[in-house]
Amino acid sequence: MKLKTLVKRPAITADDAMPIRDARALMLRHGVPCLPVLRQNELVGQKEW
């Protein structure tokens, strides 16, 4: 089984300029354990809480 059959779209993401407070609120609102961080639509990292 390949990963592409399981991943959900769209992923909840944050722009790298988003304040930590807002990013945390976004994660809580959507109930996600990890927040991919994008810079100009390129994945530059992820944050987990």
Binding site: K2, A14, I20, V32, P33, V37, E42, L43, K47
Partner: protein, 72 residues
């Protein structure tokens, strides 16, 4: 509770170095092994620079439930 100046800091400023991600054709078992090795709760799936989605522990639990039910 995060407050004060830290709360307003851009999240891009507090990222640890490096990105752990896999491609969409990566076998599931490799993704699971990577999540365990790096202690990740979620694993981004990318194609080039494009984020396709995120595989989470919740997704894996759902798959396990389907397998246990015999529906997968």
């Amino acid at each position: 509770m995060v407050g004060g100046r830290l709360a307003q800091t851009p999240i891009g400023d507090v990222l640890a170095g490096g990105v752990t991600a896999v491609g969409p054709r990566t076998p599931l078992i490799e993704g699971i092994r990577l999540m365990r090795a790096r202690r990740l709760a979620a694993l981004p799936v990318v194609r080039g620079d494009e984020l396709l989605g995120v595989l989470t522990e919740k997704d894996l639990l759902g798959l396990l439930a389907e397998v246990a039910d015999g529906s997968s």
